[in-house]
Symmetry: C3
Subunit: 260 residues, 3 copies
């Protein structure tokens, strides 16, 4: 288990490659989270299209450098569109990120869509400990999108999920735990404020997708995205007086990470 923070040189170098490469990221998410996700991607130097109309899925998924699919898109778009995007990703070898948000909260039909998405071989799965435990087959016990377990408690299940699925699994929490089944990266820091604003987790999934195009491995992509999130959240929390000013400061902080 290796601790990684923003201070590591290769973390910054990978991050700084984003605005140079300017990857085009196609996303499916709940519209609640769409604007923040787009602004986080722009702040990091990527560009995006978000939305799930059938013709758009075909056009934008096929042309994407990477894709992220947030399970909450099920609340605003038909599940068929999520499968269509995942299928294009798998068939065209476009790396993609699965965010199983609210998995295990008690809605079986909803959870089954996520289980089926998993068969399309995401490169990275990111979520909180409860969601990932539920996806790995354990009893998670989320309420809505809120984690009720620590990342460390979910690590064994996450490693197992990584081995079985071939995906890197990233568990968000006070110390993020990220594993490809063999190696484990621990990313400390961040801010609990991230749990008090809508779209923060979804935007992190989007950012992991963007980094898949500039990092050497999915493990590195997920680690760099989480390390950037952690340092930007810490800087934002110092200036914020509540969740809305935190959101503003956070996007501002992300946008200047590449400069320093």
């Amino acid at each position: 288990m290796k601790h990684v923070t923003w201070e590591h040189d290769n973390v910054r170098q990978t991050w700084q490659a984003l605005p140079v490469r300017k990857p085009f990221i196609y996303g499916q998410t709940n519209y609640i989270a769409a604007t923040l996700s787009a602004n986080v991607l722009l702040a990091a130097g990527a560009v995006t299209a978000i939305g799930a109309i059938p013709s758009a899925v075909e056009i934008f998924a096929s042309n994407a450098d990477a894709i992220w699919i947030n399970a909450a898109a099920q609340v605003t778009d038909p599940p068929e569109q999520l499968f269509a995007a995942a299928r294009i990703a798998r068939d065209k070898n476009i790396p993609w990120v699965l965010d199983p948000v609210a998995m295990g909260a008690g809605a079986e039909t909803y959870d089954n869509v996520i289980r089926q998405l998993l068969t399309y071989r995401p490169a990275v799965i990111r979520g909180n400990a409860s969601e990932l435990m539920a996806l790995a087959g354990g009893a998670g016990g989320t309420k809505g999108v809120e984690a009720t377990l620590s990342p460390a408690a979910a690590l064994a299940a996450a490693r197992d999920l990584a081995c079985r699925s071939g995906a890197v699994v990233a568990i968000s929490g006070p110390v993020d735990h990220i594993t490809d089944g063999t190696s484990v990266r621990l990313v400390p820091g961040g801010s609990p404020m991230l749990t008090r604003i809508t779209g923060a987790g979804c935007s992190l999934g989007a950012l992991v997708a963007a980094l898949l195009r500039v990092a050497a491995t999915p493990l590195e992509a997920a680690t760099v995205a989480h390390a950037a999130y952690a340092i930007a959240a810490e800087r934002a929390a110092e200036r914020a007086r509540g969740p809305a000013s935190f959101t503003m400061e956070f996007v501002d902080a992300l946008s200047c990470l590449a400069d320093n």
Copy 2:
């Protein structure tokens, strides 16, 4: 007629019960208003899912602690989904809030959907004076979402609407008027800035829904939500330089109401 403000002890106590109870609120609204509504609910200590795909309506409405339906959802979702959510609420005795936004603005088809929603017995109806006059059967005369009448002028119609529908009726304005047909609560304060940002009214409906699970009566739920809105808006207006900074300060202020 009784004046109620944030200074009343039972107002604060009810508000402080929200983050403890953490109710799950399902919402249907126009996507313009969705992100702010979600962030307002999070700031108050509730959690939410918003969206109107058929499978999601079934799953999330059925599992909700309370529901709010904003009529502007008609612009982004098929009216059948609004009826489906209202029907689940009625059949499962899940309390729900109807926001008849833009009622009476001249679109008969749109208004008829709202009239039909009313038959599913909302616990609370909230809107501005013009919208509620139009829903009560009088000539309201809104233009878009803008009120052209004072709450006091709409009070008689609101009481009548409350008696006929069984719902508490809450009229937003310089002094909010809230009635169950018998009692009337007056909530002074707030800020005209709330009328200059998109989603402020919708978010208030969401907040009333959340409070339905911790307040003793729908009248109290609506009163506490309006009192919290008023004090948070006043504090935000002191710091804001325009509508966007007002929005940020308002959510920040809401998020720390429980602390003081």
Copy 3:
């Protein structure tokens, strides 16, 4: 070619007519951009409805003072709805704005929808140089929504497009170029920050639509909207520390332009 800035008296006068006239603007756009567009319109003194459900298109397009259609609506709504709104606009002589965002980025089906929209005779077409070159028939070469050409380089194509389509063509850039085919208005200023936030271009299209109802000509409407954008962006950039604080300062600045 005539330079126009916010300092010109008739620019301010036209702008100040907006909150008096309070035009109702119906919009179709990607939901990413919807909240900012609505808040920009509110800040300027207009009101809006955004969304593309069939019944809503009929109701709201028919009753609108002006309409804007952003091509990115294709990612979140069926293309038929875009055509339906454009048809109502043409048939009822409601002036409308076409924003060909991401035109020429490589998605032929997507671009063909924009070409077909053009046949419904928009009053104004606004976009960046690459998008407008692509729409005019030249090789644009956008990547996503990013301009890779200067406005000056696209001016000849824009004039030709204006003559052929009967629309005013507005090219956003360091110096905005706006032409009805004969006259050219140059609007200097603004801030590159506008390219780093999602929805800024879409909101400008919405603002042009609002001004169509108070300006003497579409050329003047587009010019005033761009001049207001430029001065508000400059003022916002002075106070901002990144794209999110820029967005907040920008909407705040727009909201007080009428006062000074």
